[in-house]
Assembly symmetry: C2
Homo-oligomer: 136 residues x 2
DNA sequence: ATAATGTCTCTAGTAACTATAGCTTCAAGA
DNA sequence: TCTTGAAGCTATAGTTACTAGAGACATTAT
């Protein structure tokens, strides 16, 4: 049986975050010690690792709830799990495209070596959208 | 003199967001009509465009406050504006790198065509971090 | 036994908005 | 001039995914 601190160390999820996940219904309320402290099993470690990993990949808590539910029913078709993943992939690709446009513009404006604000490309570019190289 | 709705249309910033920016001190409280409605000038359009553009580029409201303050003092050296932009550029590049690793993994796991959850790569991958191709 | 560390609950705060309710004002047509 | 419908007002609360703090209690090591 692991304390919450031990669980935190093993999964890399911070203690308040573990309690938060419990509150949100992502993980079951665990057994308690005589002194009312949470005590986890290795099952708890697995489930929390799953959550941690999914969060790292950017899935929302709602998505993770769905994925966890699916993983609980190995007999079901995995169509839903895929549609969550594919949808997320599209979202990620969109974000990458947006960030790369942004990167190009930031690179451009941060090259400025003017002595004062009056002719500083950073301020100028931000003030006048028309100067942008790309749409956003 | 523009109403808040007109300002919203011209800048692409939603009405509640404009009021929020006023509350946050990003824009000055404008004049009011006799009936207490906000009335903006073209100066207001410029300032809000600057903010909109900066937000699109991902600057935080705190950063924008700094940038706005700098833009108000054209005689100052623009070193600070650059350091904000450069720092932001680094952040953006970090996010891109992370998202691309994520994209690779999502592509991989969403290719799965298993019939049921038991051998579905999405669930399997999420459950076992060790299966990942990349670190995250 | 005692000290140090860990854990408990509860509340409130974070960023950057968004939504709702219930009211008032404005502009245009009859 | 009256009316009606769109637009605007304030204030409050909700969103996401946590994070921080206070003050009390539990566990562990010496």
């Amino acid at each position: 049986m692991l304390s919450i601190g031990e669980l935190s160390r093993r999964t890399g999820v911070k203690i308040p975050t573990i309690r938060y996940y419990e509150q949100m219904g992502l993980i079951d309320a665990p057994e308690r010690s005589q002194g009312n402290q949470r005590r986890y099993t290795s099952e708890g470690v697995n489930r929390l690792s799953f959550i941690r990993h999914s969060r790292d990949l950017g899935f929302s808590i709602e998505n993770i709830k769905g994925l966890l539910e699916l993983s609980q029913h190995p007999e079901k078709p995995c169509h839903d799990a895929h549609s969550i993943a594919v949808q997320h992939l599209e979202d990620v690709q969109g974000r990458i495209a947006k960030l790369r446009r942004l990167e190009r513009e930031l690179k451009r404006i941060s090259k400025c070596d003017a002595g004062n604000i009056a002719d500083c490309a950073v301020i100028e570019t931000l003030a006048d959208h028309g100067l942008c190289e790309t749409e956003h």
